[in-house]
């Protein structure tokens, strides 16, 4: 028994011809096998026709496109993952114009058909498909499948420049903060010195350490002295391991912030994998010192495309205190900052989260693998 089902809207008419397989129990028999599909669109003299493959492709393409249109995020990837090769394709060609391309079904000769739809016409097509989906008596195996795109799918689709922008903004912020904090302590460290000069008149001593120790009772003085004079920092930092001296990591490697800000980040997954392995090997080989710390030392490490470490940053307090236990303390000298700064924006960087654990375990993972804290 042949059945015809029709979904009519002002700009679109979808007609399904098919047969019913089950017993005819109700007044409206179940259309379970479709033999022919006709899709009449406004402005088209000849309907688009096809079989089951065409129907599947049409409904999927239209439904996905409607979701992309609503959210502004393309649903192309999801469709590509499906097994069926899409006969129907939709793309936005103008502000309010959508181009539907229909490939001829395999086996039949012909050229692809192109139809331009306005947004209202597109909506009528979507509505016809939705009415078909909602119709339980026609093709019950076709139903509306809506799943929001996952974060992963979207990241993969965005062009590299767009993906790199937030990172670049963040890193230039970091650079700015590093520059500011690097400059801040400089005028302050002279105050205790001149105070010491005024009282003891010991002008001959070039090292600031006597002055610093002289003023040490004031707790504010110790983090300040740590940053400008690298020689004094281990001594000044160790009595106060609990105070997170933000200034000193930035001042320790002034090249890092500037470097990271001007370069694009490496985001190719294969490249990141290679660099992860390379960095792990490099650090694991160099890490010979028995851990004297408890817990974890977490660093953010920047690596250029050649696998060379160009800078690192402390991510927790103990990482700052026990940096000499890690190979990072030595590695830094192999790549002087001025050289990296001179190359400027030439090379791309990848950032990694490196964790040294007290039980001797080393962990290396891409930094962007961490969930980003986005502003509310």
């Amino acid at each position: 028994m042949t059945i015809q089902r029709q979904y009519s809207l002002p700009n679109c008419k979808l007609v399904l011809h098919g047969v019913s397989s089950g017993a005819d129990t109700s007044g409206r028999p179940l259309l379970s096998t479709v033999t022919n599909v006709e899709c009449y669109l406004a402005g088209q003299k000849v309907p688009l026709t096809g079989g089951r493959t065409f129907l599947d492709s049409l409904t999927t393409a239209v439904s996905d496109y409607a979701q992309s249109y609503l959210s502004g995020i393309h649903h192309l990837l999801r469709r590509d993952r499906r097994q069926t090769e899409g006969l129907v394709n939709l793309q936005q060609v103008g502000h309010n114009l959508h181009r539907m391309t229909v490939q001829p079904e395999t086996g039949s000769a012909g050229t692809p058909t192109e139809v331009d739809l306005t947004t209202v016409q597109l909506f009528d097509l979507v509505e016809a498909v939705d009415q078909l989906y909602a119709d339980g008596q026609t093709m019950p195996d076709l139903s509306l499948q809506l799943n929001p795109l996952s974060r992963r799918d979207v990241v993969a689709q965005e062009p590299l420049t767009k993906r790199a922008t937030p990172a670049a903004i963040g890193l230039s912020g970091l650079a700015a903060a590093a520059a500011l904090l690097f400059m801040l302590p400089v005028p302050e460290v002279r105050r205790p010195e001149t105070a010491a000069e005024g009282t003891s008149t010991s002008q001959g001593s070039p090292t600031p350490s006597p002055a610093a120790t002289g003023n040490s009772p004031s707790p504010a003085a110790s983090p300040e002295t740590a940053s400008p004079s690298p020689t004094a920092s281990p001594a000044a930092a160790s009595p106060t391991p609990a105070s997170p001296t933000v200034a000193s990591p930035a001042a320790g490697q002034p090249g890092v912030g500037a470097n990271l800000a001007n370069t694009s980040s490496i985001t190719d997954p294969a490249e990141l994998d290679r660099l992860t392995v390379q960095l792990y090997d490099q650090l694991n080989l160099a890490w010979r010192k028995t851990p004297t710390f408890d817990g974890e030392l977490v660093y953010r490490v920047g690596v250029d495309s050649g696998g060379k470490i160009v800078g690192y940053k402390y991510s927790n307090d103990s990482a700052l205190t026990y940096v000499t236990d890690t190979p990072l303390a030595d590695v830094q000298f192999q790549s002087p900052a001025p050289e990296a700064g001179a190359t400027g924006a030439a090379s791309a960087l990848a950032q990694f989260r490196v964790v040294f654990k007290s039980d001797g375990v080393l962990e290396v993972s891409p930094w962007d693998g961490q969930p980003d804290e986005t502003a509310p």
Binding site: T119, L144, L149, S150, R151, P371
Partner: protein
């Protein structure tokens, strides 16, 4: 026994038609909060007294448990981070569902107008005329621009992007098309799902 209140439809039935997406912390992402508020703004620009009608829809749809009064409605709308009086609170999925139900309910009532304005716009584009040539369309655009400028924080980067009249018109027209899609058979489900594109795990 006499009933003093008409039976209200159960809240859960309508809300259950919208699945809970797997979003972090179970709250609405920023883009969803923004989009919901913008769509409500577009509806207000389409019909006078839009905000009063939202409140009557709350009664009609039986959403009083979620949106108790106009203050609650205002509060959950100002979770849009681009608002001048942005409330630094999150929008729960339940509140978002209630707003989406209201948007689609109102959009369905406005189907004829929305279709008409979009078709007029298509004709104007074809003739290479500006939207100002049609009174109803230009009224909508003007009111949308006024609402937007009055309520959005001009210091936010997301608002600065819409500083020109053309950009705001573009936004208003794209919201109008989105409202059209909300009027469909599966409009509510489609809008709801689209709000979380790119934000689920």
């Amino acid at each position: 026994m006499q009933l003093t209140h008409p039976p209200t439809p159960s809240v859960s039935i309508l809300l259950d038609t919208l699945p809970d997406p797997k979003v972090p912390d179970g709250v609405c992402p920023r883009r969803a909060r923004q989009q919901i508020d913008f769509l409500l703004l577009a509806i207000e620009a389409l019909e006078l007294g839009g905000s009063e009608l939202f409140l009557s829809d709350v009664q009609e749809l039986g959403l009083q448990d979620i949106i108790k009064n106009r203050v609650t409605l205002w509060r959950i709308r100002t979770t849009n981070s681009l608002r001048r009086n942005n409330q630094r609170r999150s929008l729960s999925l339940e509140e978002a569902k209630a707003l989406v139900l209201i948007i689609c309910h109102r959009a369905k009532r406005l189907t004829v107008l929305v279709r008409q304005l979009l078709m007029v716009y298509d004709q104007l584009v074809e003739k290479q005329l500006s939207p100002d040539h049609h009174l109803r369309l230009s009224n909508y655009l003007e009111r949308f621009r006024a609402h937007f400028r009055a309520r959005m924080n001009p210091k936010r980067a997301g608002v600065i992007a819409y500083s020109s009249e053309e950009k705001l018109n573009e936004l208003a027209l794209s919201l109008l098309s989105q409202l059209l899609f909300c009027t469909g058979t599966a409009g509510t489900q489609r809008l709801w799902s689209s709000l979380f594109d790119g934000d689920v795990e």
